[in-house]
């Protein structure tokens, strides 16, 4: 009976979570990152993890990270880091906003930064990424490159920041080809790469030849589908994803998460930070379109100039991209 209990306990402990250890003195600048999914997704979560590493290397911070997939785990992880005296806790994604607001009331000395957050609330600080400015440019590319006139988007879940990126992609494609048809599939998962692949293959079967995604690790299946489907091109999200399929990825709408996380961490470490919503667009360099140079030979003449002109207009504010984030 003790053996039975011990075995079950060991299994439970193994499953509970895995986190990296913290080696630090008590007065070190302690920074934690909570990701909603795998840090090996080559995009959203991987970028934040790189940012955390840079915070350690550049600022000498003591760091820790954990994955928390469900709302209950996410709130618990926020609370646990705050209770351990972390000065700065990153909740990596829109879904952390509400749990962070609840937890922050009990921990006024911890700053909670919500990437793609909604609003400023006490010590809960949103980082707003205007990713739709970059997906607009990717959408322009897709609108020009499509032969069938059908382009597709595969999303993890219909969260507001994902919807915003999709709106930019659609607006960009329609700007260059008003009659383009847009197909959208939601997977209801950020982990299920096989679902991402089958959803992409289903789109390819009905003639979609340009695919964009925003589904983290599940989105990796989209690249797998494109690699085995001649003539299909892909547009990455959140990180530069050309290495996943170098002859198929035209460009990626990138959020330079390491840079954004480092900038805001440095301000907080130096005490120069007054709580405000930080918003990053194309003008900041944090949001950008990362073009795959190997596929630039496919671009019709004049396209590079059109993309550049649109980018300049967005930065100048003369071109408004759909669903402009507040402030």
């Amino acid at each position: 009976m003790t053996l039975r209990r011990a075995l079950v306990l060991v299994a439970l402990l193994l499953g509970a979570c895995h986190r990296s250890p913290v080696h630090a003195t008590s007065n070190a600048f302690k920074v934690a990152l909570i990701t909603p999914g795998s840090i090996a997704d080559a995009a959203w979560n991987a970028g934040a993890y790189q940012g955390l590493q840079q915070i350690k290397d550049s600022l000498g911070a003591a760091i820790s990270n954990i994955e928390a997939h469900t709302p209950a785990e996410q709130e618990e992880a926020l609370r646990s880091y705050a209770a351990q005296g972390y000065r700065l806790v990153f909740g990596h994604g829109y879904e952390f906003q509400q749990p962070a607001e609840r937890v922050s009331r009990d921990y006024p000395n911890t700053i909670f930064i919500i990437t793609s957050g909604q609003r400023l609330s006490g010590n809960v600080i949103p980082l707003v990424f205007r990713i739709h400015e970059a997906t607009y440019l990717a959408g322009m590319l897709a609108g020009v490159m499509t032969r069938t006139g059908k382009i597709g988007f595969i999303g993890g879940m219909e969260l507001p920041p994902i919807k915003l990126g999709l709106d930019g992609w659609i607006q960009g494609a329609r700007a260059v080809r008003p009659d383009v048809q847009i197909r959208i599939t939601y997977l209801n998962s950020f982990d299920d790469a096989a679902a991402g692949k089958e959803a992409a293959l289903a789109m390819i079967r009905i003639g979609v030849d340009q695919l964009h995604h925003n589904a983290d690790a599940a989105g990796l299946g989209v690249f797998s589908a494109a690699r085995e489907s001649p003539g299909v091109l892909v547009y990455g999200a959140n990180g530069d994803q050309k290495s996943l399929a170098p002859d198929r990825v035209v460009a990626s709408a990138v959020v330079d998460l390491p840079r954004a996380l480092l900038v805001v961490s440095r301000e907080i470490q130096h005490g120069a930070f007054t709580p405000h919503a930080e918003s990053f667009g194309l003008g900041s360099g944090v949001i950008r379109l990362a073009v795959n140079p190997e596929l630039e030979r496919l671009w019709p003449t004049g396209l590079a100039e059109r993309i550049k002109a649109a980018s300049d207009s967005i930065i100048a504010g003369t071109l408004k991209v759909a669903g402009q984030a507040p402030r």
């Binding site: 053996l3 039975r4 075995l7 079950v8 060991v10 299994a11 439970l12 193994l14 499953g15 509970a16 979570c17 895995h18 999914g37 795998s38 840090i39 090996a40 997704d41 080559a42 995009a43 991987a46 994955e67 997939h69 597709g152 048809q181 847009i182 197909r183 959208i184 599939t185 939601y186 209801n188 998962s189 982990d191 299920d192 790469a193 096989a194 679902a195 692949k197 089958e198 959803a199 293959l201 289903a202 789109m203 079967r205 009905i206 979609v208 690790a217 599940a218 990796l220 299946g221 690249f223 797998s224 690699r227 290495s243 996943l244 399929a245």
Partner: protein, 302 residues
């Protein structure tokens, strides 16, 4: 919309999506016939997927498949040790095994695969000569990977094992009346442990199918509940390998159908399509109610 290329594409996707479900469910049907309900097969499938990725990265697809089976067996061994040898509650230990495998594969994957990549060798689609040309059936069922063909072989094998051998008779006796089986000289613990291990090996193969026949890489939690769906499929298939395979194909079809519907673009809310496979499974379960019960001693320790 109904043209034959689209239909074949959709039906072949159903078989592809159904393959890991069928592999896991056929194995689980053997375990459940012996009286063991193993919620750890979700973990065994995930471990199999991880093993497949590591094996394929180091020694090609064949070692990937081999490593997947070994990983599935390892996880099933843990479950057998706790639930058979130590007689712990099957539901609790199976859940613990799945949680453990989820955490452990996640941790190991972060060490083994830094940054996503798609460089693994994957299983090619094998065209079976002659029969691949049978209209509809050929391109749907006989242009798949070897793991799907392995599934075609496993189904009759499992069925023959359960109903045509002495071991199968003893195994089913352990699931119906373990006390009577003991009285008849059957070693219930050993038989159940063997059944669990067979289920684990099949779940490992299912994980291999996800990585080597579908995605081409490992991602954390990539099984996304397929092990649990396989357990529902066993009940839907009435604890019979043939019925189980049919139920897996139905579920694969419903899943492929929802992707097709979403991609086709319509004004129906996509949430309805996402729920479609589960609604179908519920409807099928509802229709099956009362016609067949599971093994009488299912979930009872002995």
């Amino acid at each position: 919309m109904i043209d034959s290329a689209l239909l074949v594409g959709f039906a072949a996707a159903s078989v592809r999506v159904g393959t890991p479900l069928a592999l896991a469910a056929v194995g689980e049907s053997i375990a459940e016939r012996s009286g063991m309900i193993n919620l750890g097969i979700e973990g065994a499938m995930l471990a199999g997927a991880f093993g497949a990725a590591v094996g394929a990265a180091h020694g090609g697809v064949a070692s990937g498949v081999g490593a997947a089976v070994v990983a599935g067996l390892l996880v099933a061994t843990v479950f057998a040790a706790v639930a058979v040898a130590a007689r712990a509650d099957q539901i609790i230990s199976g859940t613990a095994v799945t949680l453990g495998a989820t955490g452990l594969t996640g941790l190991l994957a972060q060490r083994a695969f830094t940054g996503g990549n798609l460089s693994l060798p994957i299983l090619p689609v094998v065209h079976v000569p002659v029969i691949e040309h049978i209209p509809l059936v050929g391109p749907v069922f006989f242009r798949q990977t070897v793991l799907t063909y392995a599934c075609y072989v496993l189904i009759p094998l499992a069925s023959a094992l359960l109903w045509r051998t002495r071991f199968g008779l003893e195994l089913r006796a352990c699931g119906e009346a373990p006390a009577a089986a003991t009285a008849a000289g059957v070693h219930v613990g050993r038989t159940r442990a063997l059944a669990v291990l067979m289920g684990g090996a099949c779940a490992g193969l299912a994980g291999a199918a996800l990585v080597l026949a579908q995605v081409g890489m490992f991602t954390e939690r990539m099984t996304a509940g397929r092990g649990f769906i396989a357990i529902a499929i066993v009940a839907l298939g009435r604890w019979n390998p043939w019925g189980t395979a049919a139920a897996a194909l139905l579920f694969g079809g419903a899943t492929a159908l929802q992707y097709t519907f979403q991609a086709a673009g319509s004004h129906v809310p996509y949430q309805l399509f996402l729920a479609l496979p589960y609604l179908l499974a519920l409807a099928a379960l509802g229709m099956a109610v009362g016609r067949h019960r599971g093994p009488a001693a299912l979930g009872q320790s002995h």
